[in-house]
């Protein structure tokens, strides 16, 4: 797998930037869906739209973005595993991602049970956790390339 990824990324012209752009466009789908529904649950955005309808409409975008993110990100991970597994920022990204996925899954379960209709404080705090965790996931993704600013100063 490592050899295949290295060969693809180094021989197909323009593949790395194209794949990274797919990763960014997938992130746009994912982040906007997650952030907008979290802000809606917190009554900070999208107040012209009904909560249940909005979640119904946005959850598929969020979930479909996940395989896109995985497929466009995995080749880079497979090509240079040591670059990522030895990088503390990558560990942060993985941690924030797990937290974000967990919070999103819980929100989805609450949505399926109709508990998001009139969001009470447990749902609102879950939305806040999801919001923060997704923002930190995306931020730390970009900081992987800049780990030395944080961990090896000088």
């Amino acid at each position: 797998m490592t050899e295949l990824s290295i060969r693809l990324l180094s021989t197909v012209p323009g593949l790395p930037p194209v794949l990274q752009t797919v990763h960014l466009l997938g992130l746009a789908m994912l982040m906007a869906s997650a952030v907008m529904m979290d802000l809606r649950l917190l009554s900070l955005a999208g107040r012209g739209q009904q909560v249940q309808e909005m979640l119904q409409r946005l959850f598929p975008w969020l979930f479909w973005a996940l395989p896109i993110m995985l497929l466009s990100g995995l080749p880079f991970l497979l090509a240079r595993p040591q670059r990522y597994f030895n990088n503390p920022v990558f560990a942060y990204k993985a941690g924030f991602l797990c937290l974000a996925l967990l919070a999103t899954l819980l929100l989805w379960i609450a949505f399926r049970r109709g508990a998001t209709q009139q969001p009470a404080w447990p749902i609102k705090s879950l939305a806040l956790v999801s919001l923060a965790a997704w923002l930190m996931t995306a931020m730390s993704g970009r900081w992987i390339a800049y780990a030395d600013y944080l961990f090896w100063p000088g």
Binding site: T21, A28, A45, G46, R47, E53, M139, R142, Y146, Y149
Partner: protein, 162 residues
């Protein structure tokens, strides 16, 4: 003009040196990524409604009232952080074909927005109440998405050219 020393002088300003030499650079870079994904994702929701592919239960204007302030806020953050990143290597960026494409596509996206703005203001109130919007406006919605995806590609490609 692109060879002018103005661009080089930008790199020697106090601000550019502060950003380039500290953790401000990765901070600006990650905030840039965050704001462009939020902007484009929210624009996707709005443009898909305009193109008639999603959220058709609402009039276009309900969605634009909800999303446009967030889109403009994200755009403002993206422009400020982008300018901060740009001045650290201005003289190289202006000669970078990927950067030039990115700027061209952004201008076209702006023109596309103006065309939409001009055309829908001439229509009677309630143009967005109908189930499907007229074709000329739907096309501006789809064009906007294509142009902004191109802006993303240009921006990401910049880093592979230098």
């Amino acid at each position: 003009m692109l060879q002018h020393e103005f661009w080089l002088n930008l790199e020697y300003t106090w601000l550019a040196e502060q950003i380039g030499a500290t953790w401000l650079f990765p901070l600006f870079n990650s905030l840039h990524v965050l704001s462009i994904t939020l902007m484009l994702g929210a624009l996707l929701m709005l443009d898909l409604r305009l193109a008639g592919f999603a959220a058709r239960v609402y009039p276009y204007r309900t969605l634009s009232r909800d999303f446009l302030p967030w889109i403009w806020l994200a755009f403002l953050v993206a422009v400020l952080t982008g300018a901060g990143l740009f001045i650290t290597r201005a003289s190289a960026h202006v000669l970078n074909p990927a950067f030039q494409w990115k700027m061209l596509l952004m201008v076209l996206a702006g023109l596309n927005m103006l065309i939409f703005h001009y055309r829908h203001h001439r229509l009677a109130n309630g143009w967005d109440q109908q189930h499907s919007v007229r074709w000329s406006l739907r096309i501006t919605g789809m064009t906007s998405l294509l142009l902004w995806a191109g802006v993303m590609l240009g921006g990401r490609w910049m880093g592979h050219i230098i």
